[in-house]
Structures are given as structure tokens and as C-alpha cells.
């Protein structure tokens, strides 16, 4: 690499893991597109994910040895004798992408997508071709690549969880058409996501953001059915709308008195005594972009429609990684909310409202993937709520939730994918008594759901932290209380359909390919181990992240890392985990006397029991609630935008 590419500026050894996590997957994605041969493609995909994992771990290791922050100034790249600026390369690619979106809009006859693409193209073109050359300081003087612990954690999530999902996808997509296109976008997406979390420069971040939008569109429409095309178009329209908001925000930020072209400058500018009013408007619009990406209310319909995509897509894009980009954005800009608390509170209410409402709506769903989609939206709302509360403790909670949600939700999606692959159905009603037919996957799903709702696991810990964080802004506690109760209801209903068995039959584990079972087992082990050892995890990964973001870490651990101490309470996950283990292992292997087995009570008659699920559509169904939910959501977004607009008119009051 050294002979062909020379770079100017301060780079250091970090360029290697950086390339491993971003450039290699993007390149491999490109090559996969052109390769029809299955075996070479699978090998390449394997190499791609391996490079992402190694790069991610190496990068994290480097981070801890360089104090938690690494910045890289990459100005120019010389490739084979031609020298070009990375800024120009990304700008060119960005415009190409936008023109690509226009072409897609033309092809699909989507007016909204075309409109949004134009609305992004024109201001950005003006900004880059007319404003920037005439203003010398428009480029900013900050390093475009900024890697801190938060980027490091996101990179690890993307690389490790994403890689497990891609490996799973190799088996899942066996025998389907257009696999070269599928894997191109899956692996390329990993690289783009990694690049996004490393970008400090707003234009670079925006480019990779739109690349993920493209990947999302391409992957949702992969199966080319009528439904898939329709839902892909809708997803594209909503996420392009968010992108437009971000484009406006970037242009406004770049044309201010002291231009803001990167996140570090954004945080600096909002820390001043008098916050520029355009900054507030831009922040409102950036928040709007984050909300569309994370499918918060009222934008949740695109994520629900995206469930028609193949399950690895749902796992990768729509639960663990792409929708986390919105959450990443909120945590990245969270120090801003210290100086703009009202904006934070509005966002907290939007997030909390999403959490509560999606939990209630999920009760009435009988499609397993839709249930998981609602759950994802809800948990993302919870994370946004915590990030917007801008206290050290709520940030810790947000990061803990992000990590554990990525693992657990990917696990659940992959499990449902296996069920769909084997039984060709995603309906919960068809999973009736699944434990007798497929005990292994049912156990995996059962344990996955237990990691979501039961102490001592990670997601429970997130809720525990969230309730404690509510001490600082009590309004949100109502959302959390109702939402977490509803969460238990819909998960248990689903579990109940799966685990009912008439009598103590011998359960023989079903035969499953290693490419299915290995990612599931690894993810389950990660979920369990990280949950039980959460105190050291918080101590070594999350507290440094919180500190790097500018706060003092509030959560500590004690008793050799077995208990977690917060400012208002404490919990010992190891202790609880041991009890849980004992109570499950001991009776499971106990001997059951055959004589003791008896029939269920059906009033003595011999008719077989037919059991169906309940979905409470009358009170909690989508038809009943969607109108209220969406109107309230639109109202909240209007408040958000109004906040930004009013800031200009009432300059600096807020």
C-alpha cells in the first residue's frame, strides 16, 4: 500500500485499521457485484468480514493506547501517480450518488424521492461550487477523521455483529437470485457505516449517510416483488427526506459567520455564550434527520414496511446498525443539549413517546418481524430519550442500551430468520408449539427474549438506568413505565405461543447448518457474558466513552467488578445471574417419574385442545391507534421545527 498511495498530513499507524474497516469492505462489495461465481464470492465475503473485525479490534486497541481520541488529517491521496484531494473525491461521489437517486426516482416514478434528491442537490451544489471557493476559511481547519471511544464502540458493533449477520446471510440466501448484488450491498454497507462513524467532517458524514440510504433501498427491494418495490420506494422517500433536512443543516452551518464544517466545530460553537441562531435551526434539522433514520414516530412506517426484506437485511440494517446511525448522531451531538436544554427536552419527549406507543402497538401484531420492528423503534426511542437528557448518567445508560440492543435484537432477528427459512412463515400463529418441532431455535429465541426483559441481562439494565435517569426529568418516567410493561406483554405472548407442549416429550434438536447456528450461539454468548460481566464492561468500555464525550463517568463498580453502583442505587448482576443459572439448570436435568405425567385439565373430555393467540386489536390495534399516534407524532415534529424557526426570530433567547 505504501508505494502506491502516499498521503500528506498526519496519519500514523491508524490508517491500517481504518482501511481494514472501511476501504476493504467497500472494495470487496464492489468486486462482489461483478462476480457471479458463488465460491469465490463467499471467500471474498469472508475476507471482507474478517478484515472488518480485525480492523475494529485493532482500532479499539489503538484507541486505548492513545488516550481515547485519534484524529487523522488526510488531505491528499496519491494513487498510481495521480494526486487528488479526498474532499474532492467524496464530493464527486456525493453528487454522483444524488444523481443516482434522481435516476431511481425517475425509474420508480417517485415524485417525493425526486423532489428530495433535487432539494439536496441544488443547495449542496451551490455551497460547494459557489460558496466554498469564494470563502477561504470554508473548509475548516479541523481533522476530517475523528475517532474516539464512541466511534470505536460503534465500529466494534458494526464489525462484529455485522459480520456475524453476513456469515449467516451466506447460508440464508442460498439458492436465491442476484446474490452478487445482495452481498455487494451488505459488505459495502459495513464499510460505509464504519466510515460514517469515523467522519468528523459533516459533508463526509452526509455522504456515507446517503450511501447507507442507497444500500437500504437496494436491499429492501432485493426480491423484486410488488410489495418489496413499494416498501423500498417508501423507505427511500422518508430517508431521503431526512437527508434533505441534513443537507439544509450542513449548508446553513457552513455559511455562518464562523463556519461550522465538522462535529468538533459544532460542539465548540454551541458551547459559546451566545449561540448563533442558525446553529439552533441547523441542530433542529439535524435532529429531524436522525429521527427519520431511526424511524421514530411519525416516521415509523418505513421501517415496518422494510420487514419484507430478507431477514439478514432486517437484522443488519434495521435493527443493529443502520438505524443506529441516527442514535450515533444524537449521542455524538449530545454535549450540545447541555447548552440547549429545551431542544433536548423536546427530543426526549419524542423518543419517549415513540417508546411507549410502539410498545403498545406491538401487542396487536401477529407477524414476528413486525413485532421486532416495533420493539426496535421503541428501544431506539428510549436511547434517543436518554441521549437528549444530556446528563452523564443518561448518556451511560444510552450507550449501554445501544450495545446490548444491537446484540439482542440481531439475535432475535436471526432466530426468526431461521424459523422463516425452515417453516416458510413469519406468523406467530404458525409458531404454535414450535418447541416440539424445533427445540434448538425455540430455546435460542426464548433465551434471546429473556435477555431483553429479565434481570440481570443488558437490556433490563438499560431500563434500570433509564428509570434512574428519569430522576432528572420526571416527565419521561410515564413513557418508560407504560412502555416497559407493554414490552413484557408482547414478548411473553409470543414466547407463550412457541413453548406450549402437551406433555413431556423427548425433544431432539433439529439439524441446522453451522452457518446458522454459529452466529446465533456466538451472539447469545456475547449477550449473556456481557450482561453478567456488565460491571467490568462499563468500567473499561463505557465509562471511558462517557468521559471522552466530555462528562465525568457517574457509574462505578465494586466488589471486584460484580456490582454496579449508580448515584442512586446499586445492582449485582453476577449474583442474580448465578441464581438464575442454578434455577434453570438444576430442574432441567432432574429426573421426572413417568408415572407423574398426566393430561391437561380440559374438564375430563378427550377433545384435543386448540389454542390461538390474542392480539387485542379492538383496543391496541394499528387501525385504532395509528391515526392518533401519527397525528401526535407530526405535532411533536412541528414543535421541533418551530423551535428552530423561532430561534431565528427570537435570536439567542433560548
Amino acid at each position: 500500500m505504501g508505494a502506491m498511495i502516499t498521503m500528506s498530513g498526519d496519519i500514523g499507524i491508524t490508517i491500517y485499521p481504518l482501511a481494514l474497516t472501511t476501504v476493504i469492505p467497500l472494495l470487496i462489495g464492489l468486486i462482489c457485484y461483478l462476480l457471479p461465481n458463488r465460491y469465490i464470492r463467499n471467500v471474498l465475503v469472508g475476507i471482507g468480514v474478517l478484515s472488518a473485525i480485525i480492523g475494529g479490534l485493532w482500532l479499539f486497541f489503538q484507541l486505548s493506547s492513545s488516550g481515547g481520541v485519534i484524529t487523522l488529517e488526510i488531505d491528499r491521496i496519491s494513487l498510481l501517480g495521480i494526486s487528488f484531494s479526498l474532499f474532492e473525491l467524496i464530493s464527486a461521489l456525493d453528487f454522483a450518488l444524488l444523481i443516482g437517486f434522481l435516476l431511481i426516482a425517475w425509474e420508480r416514478r417517485s415524485y417525493w424521492a425526486g423532489l428530495f434528491a433535487l432539494l439536496q442537490l441544488i443547495p449542496l451544489a451551490w455551497y460547494e461550487f459557489m460558496y466554498m471557493p469564494s470563502h477561504a476559511d470554508a473548509h475548516g481547519s479541523v481533522a476530517p477523521v475523528y475517532i474516539d471511544y464512541w466511534s470505536g464502540i460503534m465500529c466494534l458493533i458494526i464489525s462484529i455483529i455485522g459480520s456475524l449477520i453476513v456469515i449467516y446471510a451466506i447460508k440464508y440466501m442460498e439458492g436465491q437470485r442476484n446474490q452478487n448484488r445482495f452481498f455487494a450491498y451488505m459488505v459495502g454497507f459495513l464499510g460505509a457505516m464504519n466510515a460514517a462513524v469515523f467522519s468528523n467532517n459533516l459533508l463526509w458524514f452526509f455522504f456515507f449517510w446517503e450511501v447507507t440510504t442507497l444500500a437500504c433501498y437496494m436491499l429492501i427491494k432485493h426480491e423484486e416483488t410488488e410489495e418489496a418495490l413499494r416498501n423500498a420506494k417508501w423507505a427511500l422517500e422518508v430517508t431521503l427526506g431526512g437527508g434533505t433536512a441534513m443537507a439544509f443543516a450542513i449548508v446553513w452551518l457552513g455559511t455562518m459567520g464562523t463556519p461550522v464544517t465538522s462535529f468538533t466545530e459544532l460542539l465548540q460553537a454551541s458551547g459559546t455564550n451566545i449561540i448563533p441562531t442558525m446553529l439552533i435551526l441547523a441542530l433542529a434539522f439535524i435532529s429531524l434527520a436522525g429521527l427519520t433514520k431511526s424511524a421514530q414516530v411519525p416516521f415509523q412506517s418505513w421501517l415496518l414496511g422494510a420487514m419484507v426484506a430478507p431477514t439478514p437485511v432486517s437484522a443488519l440494517l434495521h435493527s443493529s446498525t443502520m438505524v443506529k446511525l441516527g442514535v450515533y448522531l444524537f449521542i455524538r451531538i449530545s454535549p450540545v443539549f447541555q447548552h440547549l436544554p429545551s431542544l433536548g427536552y423536546i427530543l426526549a419527549i419524542i423518543g419517549g413517546f415513540s417508546f411507549m406507543v410502539t410498545a403498545i402497538l406491538a401487542i396487536s401484531q401477529n407477524n414476528a418481524k413486525k413485532v421486532l420492528a416495533y420493539s426496535t423503534i421503541g428501544n431506539l426511542g428510549l436511547i434517543i430519550l436518554l441521549a437528549a437528557l444530556h446528563t452523564p448518567f443518561s448518556l451511560t445508560a444510552a450507550i449501554v442500551l445501544t450495545v446490548f440492543h444491537a446484540i439482542s435484537k440481531a439475535l432475535l432477528f436471526l432466530g426468526v430468520g431461521v424459523v422463516q427459512h425452515e417453516t416458510h412463515s413469519k406468523e406467530i400463529e404458525n409458531m404454535d408449539g414450535l418447541i416440539l418441532r424445533k427445540p434448538f431455535i425455540t430455546t435460542v429465541l426464548l433465551m434471546g427474549i429473556m435477555t431483553m426483559i429479565i434481570p440481570p441481562f443488558g437490556m433490563f439494565l438499560g431500563k434500570y438506568f433509564a428509570v434512574q435517569a428519569g430522576l432528572e426529568f420526571p416527565l419521561i418516567i410515564f413513557f418508560i413505565a407504560v412502555g416497559s410493561a407493554a414490552t413484557v406483554v408482547y414478548y411473553l405472548k409470543w414466547i407463550g405461543r412457541m413453548i406450549n407442549m402437551e406433555t413431556d416429550a423427548e425433544l431432539t434438536p433439529e439439524h441446522m447448518s453451522i452457518l446458522f447456528s454459529a452466529p446465533l450461539v456466538v451472539m447469545l454468548s456475547l449477550a449473556v457474558i456481557f450482561s453478567v460481566l456488565v460491571a467490568p464492561v462499563i468500567q473499561s468500555f463505557i465509562n471511558p466513552t462517557v468521559e471522552v464525550l466530555g462528562f465525568t463517568a457517574p457509574v462505578s463498580s465494586a466488589f471486584y467488578g460484580t456490582s454496579v453502583i449508580t448515584p442512586w442505587g446499586y445492582i449485582t448482576p453476577v449474583f442474580i445471574g448465578l441464581f438464575l443459572l442454578a434455577v434453570f439448570l438444576v430442574p432441567l436435568f432432574a429426573h421426572i417419574d413417568r408415572k407423574a405425567l398426566t393430561k391437561v385439565y380440559s374438564c375430563g373430555v378427550e377433545y384435543p385442545t386448540v389454542i390461538g393467540g390474542v392480539y387485542f386489536e379492538r383496543i391496541m390495534g394499528e387501525e385504532k391507534l395509528n391515526d392518533y399516534v401519527n397525528s401526535l407524532g407530526v405535532g411533536l415534529i412541528a414543535v421541533l421545527i418551530a423551535f428552530g424557526v423561532l430561534a431565528i426570530t427570537m435570536s439567542g433567547v433560548i
Binding site: P455, F478, A485, L492, M501, L597
Partner: protein, 287 residues
Amino acid sequence: MDFWPAFIGFIFLLLAPFIGMLVIGLDRKITARMQNRIGPPVLQPLYDVIKLFGKEDKIVNRGQVVFAYAFFVMVVLATSLFCLRSDLLVIFFLLNAGAIFMVMGAYSTRSAFSTIGANRELLQMLAYEPIFLLVIFSIGYAVKSFTIDAIYEPLILKLPLALVAMVIVLMIKMQKSPFDISTAHTEIISGTMVEYSGTYLGLLKLTHWYELFLILGTMALFVIIPGNFVLSIIAMLVLIAVVYGIVMLIDNITTRLTWDALLKVALPLGIGLITANLIYVWYIGGA
């Protein structure tokens, strides 16, 4: 940890099931007297449970046994944490986990009554969990900490309405009319407990005693006067007598609500009470 509080906590842990049992026994006796009958002896629940432990095992599948044990362990863990004056939020979530395991055990048998009971139990959880969590949150908000040993004055001074909301939780948890759809005896024959017999039913009833102790204990926290042991005990007994008396009275004169009526009555009432209380605490400077 100081010796005396730990010792008292340990004694309470040992006495917990007996306290639960006595309250349930008194409940049956006084209910009978209200209905102009003599009623069973006060120690009747003890005889019931010991008889159950002496019965033959008859189960449907292994899963329900595992979940029954899980329920028991979680509740006992929560009680021991309560007696060690630990974090109230953890106790709440452990109780929750216990109820979750109970519902899983009910679902794991392929029985119509059990499934309907489990569905209704879930709806009940949707009703009482938010209220319980909000009560604990308001305690944390008033005291600035969730651990029990941080409570420095009787909570009833600041949180009277939260105590009333806690009564609703008590009624739902202990299956008292009008909130007893989950074990509606005449409709679904004890719902979630239908397929349990013998030892495991005894275990469920024992766990029920522990749960009663925990909920009454949480209510007792409202009247504990730190530092004055005797007065606290007297205050707790008076409170439990008054509260349980009112609950028994309402139980005997009301009929059962359907599940949507339950949600429409219990949730707004509970949340409304807590909201009013939280506004009060914020106003007087608790924040």
C-alpha cells in the same frame, strides 16, 4: 453493614412467609365474618400448603416445574434484597421477573384455562406494573435515592397519594375484586395455576405469601420512622390493618371487572394519583 439492621432484616426474612400466611388467614376469617359465617382457622393457609407438599406429583411437562422454581427463586431473592434494605428498583424488577416466569409456566402447558389465565395475567401486568414502577420512582424522587436505607422520614408525609396508588397494586396482585380477572375462580378455575398440583402448587402459594409480604413491606416503608423501632412496628401494623381492611371490604362488595375495564379504570387512576403526587413533591422542592 451495621449489625442491628442486618439482624432485624434477617429475622424479617425468616418470618416473611409466616407474615404473609397470617395476613391471608386473617383475610379469610374476617371475610367469613363479614358474610355471617364462622370461617376457617387463621392458620388455615399453613395447613393448605403443608398438605399440598405432601401430595403425589402430577405434572404436565418439565417446563412448568422449571418455571415454578424460577418464580419462587426470583421472589425469594427480591425478599432477601428487601430485608437487606437494598435497591428498591432491583426488587421491583426481580418481582417482575418472577411474574414473567409464572406466566411462562402457565403458557408452557397446552391447556385452554392456563392460556386464558396467562393472557389475563399479562393484561394485569400491563395494569399494575406501570403504577408500581411509578410508586417506586416517586419514592426515589422524594428521597433522592432508590435504596431503602436512604429513607430518612416517613414517606407518607410527602407521598400520600402514592400510598393510595399502592393500594391499587395490592388489590391487583392479591387478586381482590374488582381486579381479579387472572385467577377468576368461577370463570377459568385459577387461570395460571390450573395445571399445577401438589408440591408445585404449594410452592406457588408459598411464593404468593412472599409477594404479599413484599407489597405490604413496600407500603410499610411509607410509615417507618427511622430510629424508633417500636413506633415503626406499631405504625406498620396500623397501616396494614387499615389498608387491608379497606381492601377486604371492597373485595366483598364489588364484582369482577373485565380486562378492558380493568385497564381503563386502574391505569388512569393509578397514573393520575402518582402524577398529582409528583407535582406536589416537585412543588415543595423535592427535586
